[in-house]
Amino acid sequence: MYRDTDDRFGENIMTPLVKMQQIVKRFPGLTANDRVDFEARKGEIHGLLGENGAGKTTLMNILYGLYRQDSGEVSFEGQPVQIDSPRHALELGIGMVHQHFRLIPRLTVLENVVLGLRPEIGVERQGPGRLTSVRRKFFQIFGLDTKTAETRVIELAERFGLKIHPHAKVWELSVGEQQRVEIIKALYRNAKLLILDEPTAVLTPQEVDRLFDMLQTMAEQGYTIILITHKLNEVLNACHRITVLRNGRLVSTVDSAESTQKDLAKLMVGREVLFHVDQEASTAGEEILHVDHLTVLNDKGLEAVRGASFSVHEGEILGVAGVSGNGQTELIEAINGLRRVESGKISFRGKEISNAPPRQIIEQGVGYIPEDRMNVGLATSMTITENMLLKHQSSSQFNRGWFLDKTAVKKAVERLVKAYDVRTASINIPVGRLSGGNIQKIILAREISRHPQLLIASQPTRGLDVGAIEYVQTLLIEQKRQGKAILLISENLDETMRLSDRIAVIYEGEIVRILKTKDTNRREVGLIMAGGLKD
């Protein structure tokens, strides 16, 4: 029945490939999707836009079979379907590239691509006869037909202009390359629909352009692509249509040709948004942090930071721009005393702090907003009060003899929660239950209330929604105005450009260039980030 209608329309772009109707998905304590309608047509790039926690990923996880909806209908190619596992989704032709890649780093590209697939039985192994059937069985269980797979992978890669080395180990690849492996993996399984969850978060501007070119080629060849994102310029550039979700509800589906960033932001947040946090020129003062020819090793024992030199001054934000994995994490850990300095010097207000114990570094006045808030920034199962007290626990103001002064602690925490606008029912609930934005506010409150002279902020807005990002950025600028030195590490180049006074570009562990923000532009920084000055 449905087949007929499909055939009549043939390659018509209006045919909905996927139709999701009135999808409801509840998790304990929240409704992630509340009667959401969604459809994507064959051959289109469809943007799924919304703040964090708007329910975008949940909706797509339902389509990919990771979650099952509480109510609502899904149909694919005109047939109602009940997708109960990713495997089932793949069989239907739905592939998904998650934010955290589902690859096995230790295996090769090719091995990752064929993982979990039964080998196809070649002609020479078909046919009757006892011996062949035994051989066939043996092949099914043990066989690994890498030759055929290799030809197909190369063929697919060429078709979409993807560069890929089938025999490289996945851990040796850059994040961008790993993403390509994920896409190939889905295509190899004959996906007709490809869902990409925040695919650009880890890419350089150049890589983003390449990705979008490729998606365009795919769409022209009849593939359908759903792009989950919260970046407005991306959806406008890359997508044909855009569906906006807010608080788990469908706001609207619009044609990207007919919308602007301002419209979309309003749909997404529900109010007007300030796009540019005011940044005024300031005069930098005394040198606070000085890093001199620093070399640090990564976990694999290879040089992650190689002879990096820079300094940060009072009343200045120095942004470190670079694609993740170029030594940023190791650099920050070394400054905070969490990773051994192999050679070179780190000085704080003229005093050397290389390889000093972290506690001593903290006490001298270094505040740290770590990249991994959930694991490094906080103890998620402890309460707000306890987390705020960390780092302050031995301060005389909170102690009476050997015991903590509970009233003093409670008073201070209540004041901070109010001052930093942490939205919570009580200060005695575990931090893990709060939203990302509120968690980040707690870390900010804890670090800033110690009045550090140097604040190191690593990915301070990653994964936050537009409102919280605005808050964090304003706060950083406010701190700078008060004369603090700020070292900002961000994968979001727009953010780095907007907040920093100077930008240090890191590539393969070297600070390749330090630029004044007002003398440079996105394009130039992007090029240096991609190693453009090196080769």
Binding site: L66, S85, P86, R87, L90, H100, R102, L103, I104, P105, R106, L107, E111, V114, L115, G116, R118, P119, I141, F142, G143, L144, D299, K300, G301
Partner: protein
């Protein structure tokens, strides 16, 4: 002439004492590569030693003993599997429990077997080869299990690194959630690997009571199971390195016995300590190596897989 005889006896001693370690280490490598740590090797070996001995004693065939040993130790390993894979409980605690269970169970059940000589494997005799001077003695005068252990190494290497099953085992041990989304049955693969590990540990134990000696002695594994676990780390989870490591340890044990019989003026307690002291040394070295190069250890080792939980 003394040196040649001494050398032959040390080398053959290394191989004989190393063979049970080869089996147990290979088994534990398979288990751990799927992401399950089974510290119960010692317990599974001792169960294998006793059930092998009983099996061969009543059937008069060492092969029946081997089958019995592999099955019984395999069954014991399934207890670990059930606790850790199905019930997701702590792998360390469960493993230690398997050791205590195995040692206790065999002390109790093996009481009647103490002091009996059983039916074991005879050394093979290859025409011409076995009669070669030196080489014949060092290479061609062992029982069949020794050669089986050697053959098992390339077989497992092929299985783990060149087949679909091996790929799936690696995937389950590295990232079970990824494996799951690709339709690989995580729990089934882990059960398979744990059972294989148990059977091989049992075979290692049977070697002790059917070939190395032909008697049953209470707690005759004497810590070899723990050495096997250390050897897994030394071997960096690779079968080929396990063979080298096992013979090296066999050599230390062989040497220690020769020194004792040669009447060196050192207390035999100190000499007996040698393999275990060497274990600590090896762990120190390989810990440094693995910290430096992040070699080996499966990413999901000791982590139970719960579908839908965050990675």
């Amino acid at each position: 002439m003394f040196t040649s005889i001494f050398l032959i006896s040390v080398l053959t001693g290394a191989v004989r004492a190393g063979t049970p370690l080869v089996f147990a280490t290979l088994g534990e490598i398979v288990t751990q590569r799927s992401g399950v740590l089974n510290l119960g090797v010692e317990g599974m070996m001792i169960v294998g030693a006793l059930s092998g001995f009983i099996g061969s004693y009543y059937s008069h065939s060492p092969w029946v003993g081997v089958v019995a040993a592999m099955l019984c130790a395999g069954l014991i390993s399934l207890i670990h599997g059930f606790l850790c894979i199905t019930l997701k409980s702590d792998q360390v605690i469960s493993g230690i429990m398997i050791v205590l269970l195995g040692v206790g169970l065999t002390s109790f059940a093996g009481e009647a077997m103490v002091g009996i000589t059983g039916y074991g494997f005879e050394p093979l005799h290859f025409p011409l080869l076995s009669d070669l001077p030196f080489l014949g003695e060092v290479l061609f005068q062992y029982n069949i299990l020794v050669y089986l252990a050697v053959l098992l190494v390339p077989l497992l290497w092929w299985l783990l690194f060149r087949t679909r099953i091996g790929l799936e085992i690696t995937a389950v041990g590295e990232s079970p959630s990824t494996a799951d989304t690709l339709g690989i049955p995580v729990d089934r693969v882990r059960y398979m690997c744990v059972f294989t590990g148990g059977m091989l540990a049992g075979l290692g134990g049977a070697f002790l009571s059917l070939a190395y000696t032909r008697i049953w002695v209470d707690h005759m594994t004497a810590g070899r199971g723990w050495i096997a676990i250390a050897l897994v780390i030394f071997a960096a989870w690779k079968p080929q390195r396990a063979l080298v490591g096992a013979y090296l340890f066999g050599g230390i044990e062989g040497l220690q016995l020769r020194l004792q019989t040669a009447g060196v003026g050192v207390s035999h307690h100190v000499l007996q300590m040698m393999p275990y002291a060497a274990t600590i040394l090896v762990l120190l070295i390989s810990a440094r190596e693995s910290a430096r190069r992040r070699i080996g250890a499966p990413e999901a080792l000791m982590k139970p897989y719960i579908r839908g939980a965050r990675d």
